[in-house]
Amino acid sequence: MLNRRRFLMNSAAAGAGFAALHLTPAFAQDAPQIQIFVPAAPGGGWDQTARAMDQVLRSEKLISGSQITNVGGAGGTVGLPQFVNQWNGKGNALMVAGMVMVGAIIANKSANNLTQVTPIARLTGEFEALVVPAASPFKTAADFVAALKADPTQVPVAGGSAGGSDHILFGLIAKTAGVPATNLSYVPFAGGGEALSALLGNQVAAGISGFGEFSEQVKAGALRLLAISADKRQEGIDAPTLKEAGIDVELFNWRGVFAPPGVSDDDKAAMIKLVETMAKSDAWAKECKNRNWTPILLTGDDYAKFVAEDTARIATILKDLGLA
């Protein structure tokens, strides 16, 4: 049964290869088919990353086609075991994952983790934004931190689900300011839209979420941007980074790709080269600009080191927040 399926897949690949041969003979030799595993439902950030990759890889003629598989649920911890076990050794496969999965693995006490898969590249990041309603008394990030220090229970902050990147950033800000994480008044919402409406309706004191969720409201003057969590000032954004505002925190909600466990060194090197070429193309830069993604390319061993460090940092803060 399995052999038959593999046979069918190979012939499908060969068929696509032939099609490519007719259209673009020069690239047909080294344009492979790849498979992208998305541990989330269609439509979200990881899925969009996969579909943007597919689009750019094909338009740059780096691949002849790709097949995207979605297995959604629980911050990626439903899909991860499947990728680790059933996709083992597949040299032409990639999984999209990111910081959200690191948090979910820890919070859900998942049996599998990202040390079991093969790091290929970190691709993009979205920095977070700290905002307040336009009518808020807080004019700067320092005002916000001062109020937090005075009495954290009086400063309800809206953001995404408990233990997600927004909650983590709030925890990190409080920790840097010396406020005990357990006293924080964090109000989780299912999505950016709901958190945004709580801010616009003046239901909460401040909000933390991906910059893209708030950017248009900031432009329209409905929200005030106090600080962003990027590493440096961003062009066209009139707000300091948290570090400039005196809060020594930097955070990117990063997304990257991993190969399955057990791939050969050659396959790994070829995949890194493929993804690197894509990430350096103009078409990819344009996709990132359209979607407010900051390109933060990091490959291979450096990426592995980064994932390990980020995992340790997130584990500590989730423990402080009482979630792990």
Partner: protein
Amino acid sequence: METFGHLAHGFSVAFTPVNLMWCLVGTTLGTAIGVLPGLGPALTIALLLPITYQVAPEASFILFAGIYYGAMYGGSTTSILLNTPGESATIVTALEGNRMARSGRGGAALATSAIGSFVAGTIGTMGVAFLAPIVVKFALSFGPAEYFSLMVLAFITVSAVLGSSSVRGLTSLFAGFVIGMIGVDLQTGQPRFTFGTSELLDGVDVIIVAVGLFAVGETLYMASRRYAGKDEIVPLKGSLYMTAAEWARSWRPWLRGALIGFPIGAMPAGGAEIPTFLSYAIEKKLSRHKEEFGTVGAIEGVAGPEAANNASAAGVLVPMLTLGLPTSATAAIMLSAFQSYGINPGPLLLTTQADLVWGLIASLFIANVILVILNLPLIGLWVRLLKIPAPQLYAGILVFATVGTYGISQSPIDLVILYLLGAAGFLMRRFDFPTAPVIIGMILGPLAETQFRRAMTISNGDWTVFYRHPLSLTLLTLAFIGLVGPHIWAYVERRRLRGPEHVPGDA
């Protein structure tokens, strides 16, 4: 009026042959996926997102809007004919709609739902065009405290569907609460009732519960009664479409449903299910044919909720187009399509992308017309499904329910849950427990819990928020009147009837 000028311009965008073609493709596709349980509009649009690389923004949004409205039309078809709701917003439709189908009025149920959808969809779309800025202001004044009070009101009103025995009804309602609690708790990130199964971390999909309890449970019950000769399905009795009496009974529920659905749909946490519950409860209360509810099927119970869910679908577009707030899964995916064109949806969308927004609104009007034209002739065909002999029909329903459930997330665990719930549904039917309250508990329970805890977090544990906020107080007062009002009314009526003897001198 400026709006008319914009709208006229919007129609000039939508009325190009290419855009009309996309509208037709979208509505047809939407109807088809609405019919299939499991494949909802959000997933379909997500799968079609790559189309944004190929076609103009106007064309793809017209396509997406057609799918969105089409799914709302199609979802009611399987609810009515097969007792298998395709979308969570059409679960209530199954209650009376399927009864009607069994007693030979399936054609009328389908017609009232199609025409009601058209009426409410048109009213809702007019609301989007003319009232959006006002409605959104009202919707934003709803905070967690107000939502919780709205849920309390909803709980009180839906007691109408609890059935004859309130103990059995409440038992079902609380069973629904428990199912709704399964999964990661949003407020603390901790898993509840998952028994270490990672597939359960995201909870159980309400469609699976509805299909399991209604369709599978019903099928098992019918199989057990096969030779008892009861519950024969009458394919068609009288006219295929609606009779004059049915028209007269439908038009008020359509209007009331639209008025309930639109504002609640526009609320960021309103959703499409709550307005259908409220509409059903109100129609049951106001109907002059109460004896038909739950027996042969009352047309008001189909007309109202169907209108409510279509109007709420239009309502969802209000915060999306005026503020860039996605308040449903489908809206969120449509917003991500905006982004792949480099358009940032937000408060400035109406001014920076007027062509796109008004073209989209105009195409919604056109989609509504196309949908009603598309759906009415299909009724004759759909009703023929009921002529299939019972064993084959129920076997087909079982296959349909299974395939649809697997389609939701391709998870075998979901199938196990479906059949466990099917067995539970059979037992409930056998021992006369109503199944609808399970669904209501499952949807309202977790919402009420989440909003209550949010309100408590924001107020730092201060209970008084629920009556210090005027809007919240109003809703709680309404709920209180709903709870004690009927008893006081009954008491007054008794006094009045006995009045002359006991109160001498009363003029």
